[in-house]
Subunit: 397 residues, 4 copies
């Protein structure tokens, strides 16, 4: 979880909060509608959480940070749930027994939906009763943004679960997952000078975006559109995965250890590349933006092209002049604090900066991001070996 | 799976086979009745299989070795299932994609019950049609014994799944899991001389029991009853888990690595030992036979008592004079072939001897063993670190 | 190894090169004088190389990049040495057999000194013969800087080898390893604005320093002196290693995994902190700058103090106003390319940017750095868990 | 270490003990004569000990069990050595600091030879002074046998150290390592019945050989000579390493994990099999007995031939009728206690049975066994994956 700007939000009308709450909470369940009960339970790798855990954890957030401390006479749904659905908030509760999320058959999916009903009912009661102070609005809005982040992870993790099943079940036949990147390809040019980046203005943002500040940039050019499957396939076919000179040392170790030869979900079947998508296994769509590549692959591709990835400052400065939103875009910026970054106090703010090491910034948004959740100052971040996000490549020079 | 004595069975009446088939198949499903769908899916450690896998794998056996080769015009239920439900039969099918059983949310539980229905229907058709030859009867009987072995594993694995959930859900409130071992404790004495062990006579046996043969035994004494929780607790309280001198070197490494201090499912809660049973978490029942100990623990306990575990020959020779059936009893015999042991040809017999290294023999049966499945010549075997079976200790000297 | 600025050096007089060569080569051997032969061989962890490997590898550099391609009729000393002393230059030779450096008893130490004599003799012949072109001077100077880098590693690795021996043998009784940091502690203040960083001018630099460029900095203050053992001991005694809130998530995982409670080489003996130094095990010297801490520890200490580590740009801008040279100083800057960074072609330049991911920049120099080897634009870098370097902490805000 | 029969030895003349002591102690040093100092230090895998450790550990045995407790006024050579040279005797001293033997450059080789001189001098003083009681003679003789066991390990480990160096240095050009197995190949036949095995009579034996006892054997036949390189090459060329059906399940896992395709020290160079021997790398000698195979390979070879390995009882019964002594011969018997096996008290006898699990018995002796050290009742044992011993194959049926 990333954290909130507690200073800038304003007290909205009760009805707006109410509608927003229902919409966000409903969308999490909507995303799970195509699932079998069995799909809610499994965890094929450590970074993936079982869908039922996402549903419980986002609910636990509202119960823990709003209902328990602020709703009079609230009865906890189940004392054990704090242990099960806490993630990394080390100040809340003990974490003695070691069990992996993917081994927990109970609470059942039905129990968790009951938990959601129970908390929703009390949240509505809470909103109705006008207990909201400015500070609680901030936490409430943070809870909604937190749930939206988990909505993206939910879809990402569902894809991983189904895409690693040898039966390759589709998530849904109805959604359109092949995205088009058919803009005319051109460079956008920027002159050297002082620019400003970081969040400013009204509305919600996470604390890592705050502290609008000046940066000095050299001249640079950035592509207006993303690298396509076709372009990436050229890299594969030119032997990109077997020539160390394009790779970081760590990246090359990753290639050798995993015998990597393509993005995640690409399968070479009878000599032909197929891709597992949310619609099932299908022919590769060449004009779509390449997806599910890690930082090493993004950087190696750029190196092979004689170009580079943009920095996050370059990206943000050019955001209004390029087309973005289909893929989270790897930048060549490490995830580090902005000047004047400050930790918030207490459990909500506990971990403001705790992930600011050995991760790289992703900018933009992806087709899995809930509508309205991202913005041009949004700083997403992942470790460099991860492929399971909807990640892509934009080039600069 | 262990394999069959193809030579000694006789052609039973069709009705007997028919009834036996329904009984065995029904009992597997009966065992799963208390489960939630989520419980069928998870795999908390590599040695445990998800219950739905047991249900599918035992069905796959009949489809693969009887229906496909011997029922005219049989249509395979699903081509992919051979990959999913094959276990270690390396001659059947390819095993290219590596996925763990515990990561497979599909086929769903409903799909697997449909699979069972489909195969049952065709098996009944097959039995009705009198296609049985002597050789097919043998495979059919093997399939039933194979399913019974998996019934024991099913219950063992369910206990592990529920017993490693922090909510400690009971499997069933109705069953009685605390067993009594309240015989008068005494030694049975045997004189040195030549004895015979191994299966002989009519009826089914696995091939590892075959080859009845002479062994020479020295004088020995064996206890008529098993070590109890109370006796084992004395060992714990005397510091048995912190004094290396009672342990094998490998066993002591195991103790240190896992910081072991009690059998599996024992929990020291507020200074008091509790045990997770199939009825849930409860007070320790002191008179019950100790359960869920591995070979290292059994041998260390015996050493602390100044005694030893019996050999499998000693056990078999004394089987008619002692009380057995509550716990699989660790012997101090390695699982090795009897004289004149021969591999069978083909996939069924593929692995006759493949497990005959670095495992120890267990004799008897446990409360989880299906009625009628074991016998005094039965050779069970496990690796020495395993605790999750219903294992116990009998002493000899 | 880091790489060279091929453009800026000028052709020095032959005598200067000659003297420089002898000095640098001699100093490597001087550093090894206190060693027993056995000390040259071992490798107690993967990041440490056996001293004899450093002696061979630095020699291999001159043989491979100068003598073989440029000295007429040069006979390679031993064909196998390319395999043994190559480090990570993947374009030179095959690397089929996997053996760890610490397992190689041969070539013997005597063989390696013979190798050094042989290469030195031919290098002198080469320098005498005036074969030097500007390009070769650059490689030659790079070879000397490369050897100096290994001199620092040599001392660092020797300390690790002797400091992990239960006999705690001193490296040398003659050297003074307790360093003083007894400046008056004060903050140096800088105003926001555009500054320039990066190498410029004559003389040698590595390529990662090149590309002098503008950066915009906010107001900042930086301490003129380093954090002392006494100050760090306060952090330890205040429970710094047992409170997660000061640590990055990765750092806290490191603490728990290693049960870390102090810098490397600190030993709590009979309730008193002792430190292994190059003079042997001794009482802690409280006024010395704390040493052998990793990035996680440096950042946690700063967090506990309510301050932060400087960025590398802040450090470089203030370098002329602070006292530095005793410890490599962790910055909060990731090791990433400067604007307009370009890979060099060929094996020497093969890996210019290959380490520019998941490492943090260290600035300054340490008491183990050869005199004249560092400068204020020098960019050292290590992974965040490493403690075995002579690393320290400077605070900013 | 294995342990001693304390009951059967008789008090020899002082001169005999004296001569025996010098011979055994001298031979350890003789074995090390061809080594460089660097060869004494390294440990390329956990099962291999550095030669200097063997020299120190065997000396530590005499110091710890004879000089310290029984020589008046004896001054320990170095207090730290108990920590460094103790192996697994958990009752003697603490073992707090974890360092691997292969990381210890000190004590130096010279220190260890001084340690040997010092202990030898005091042992001679001890023998001269006629302090020997029957019990001390037993420990003294055990110490000599213990050192002989380490002499075999010393040679085995030296071969591993040099044989894993890419320079393939020979141990000694003078020794003859290609052994002949040119007996006429024939089966020796034995009738079913009661036989006796185990040590009896005068002289030294280890405790695991004691307890001469009856065993019942079925009819069996055993080859009088060992499987040759030529025969084993047939197995390789017939695809033995790529057909799972010949292997135990564990063995097949080992093959796949290590991509095994030949015995240890075999190298396929330019399409031709070469073997590293104590004389260096050379052409395979086809008539020599195959060497350096693990239990899995021995069992797979036997299975491919449609035969089996003998049990240890069969081997001992036929020992006078077959040619043995070139290779330690894998049997299909697990290393388990004989009837009436009893642990000795105290540190010497501490671990009598501690290795009696998950190891297989080897019978005979090898070209690396010191003359006079083995006998037909000798029970050697190793874990099933080990190849680095001088192990071979004899077939039975």
């Amino acid at each position: 979880m990333k954290n909130i700007n507690l200073a800038v939000s304003v007290l909205p009308e009760k009805q707006v909060l109410y509608a927003k709450y229902l919409t966000v909470r409903g969308y999490s369940e909507e995303l799970c509608r195509p699932l079998e009960i069995e799909d809610y339970v499994v965890q094929p790798m450590a970074d993936v959480s079982p869908p039922k855990w996402h549903l419980g954890h986002t609910t636990w957030f509202f119960e823990t940070f709003i209902l328990i401390p602020h709703l009079p006479n609230y009865q906890v749904f189940d004392d054990e749930y704090n242990f099960v659905f806490n993630s990394y908030y080390e100040t809340i509760g003990s974490r003695v027994i070691r069990t992996d999320r993917g081994n927990l058959s109970r609470p059942s999916v039905a129990d968790i939906y009951n938990y959601r009903r129970y908390v929703d009912k009390h949240m509505i009661e809470f909103l109705d009763a006008e207990f909201l102070t400015q500070n609680l609005v901030d936490i409430f809005v943070l809870g909604l943004n937190h749930e939206q982040q988990h909505q993206e992870l939910l879809l990402t993790d569902i894809k991983y679960i189904l895409g690693h099943n040898p039966l390759f079940p589709p998530y849904s036949k109805e959604i359109k997952s092949a995205e088009y990147a058919n803009h005319d390809r051109e460079y956008v040019r920027f002159k050297a000078g002082i620019y400003e980046i970081g969040f400013e203005g009204q509305g919600f943002c996470f604390d890592n975006e705050q502290g609008r500040h000046k940066v000095y940039l050299d001249d640079f050019e950035i592509e207006n559109t993303l690298v396509t499957n076709k372009q990436y396939l050229d890299f594969i076919q030119a032997g990109g995965y077997s020539d160390f000179q394009f790779w970081h040392a760590e990246g090359w170790d990753w290639v050798k250890k995993h015998q990597a030869q393509a993005p995640l979900y690409w399968h070479l079947i009878d000599g032909k590349w197929m891709i597992y998508t949310l619609n099932g296994l299908m022919d590769i769509y060449l004009e779509a933006a390449v997806c599910h590549i890690n930082f090493y692959e993004a950087a190696a591709y750029a190196s092979w092209r004689g170009m580079r990835l943009p920095t996050e400052a370059e990206w943000e400065v050019s955001a209004d002049h390029i087309s973005w939103g289909e893929r989270w875009e790897w930048t060549n910026s490490a995830y580090l604090p902005y000047p004047r970054f400050k930790k918030e106090a207490g459990a909500v703010g506990e971990y403001n900066g705790k992930f600011m090491i050995n991760q790289m910034v992703l900018r933009g948004a992806s087709i899995a991001t809930p509508k309205g959740h991202s913005r041009k100052t949004y700083r997403n971040f992942f470790q460099t070996a991860h492929q399971w996000q909807f990640t892509g490549i934009r080039l600069a020079r």
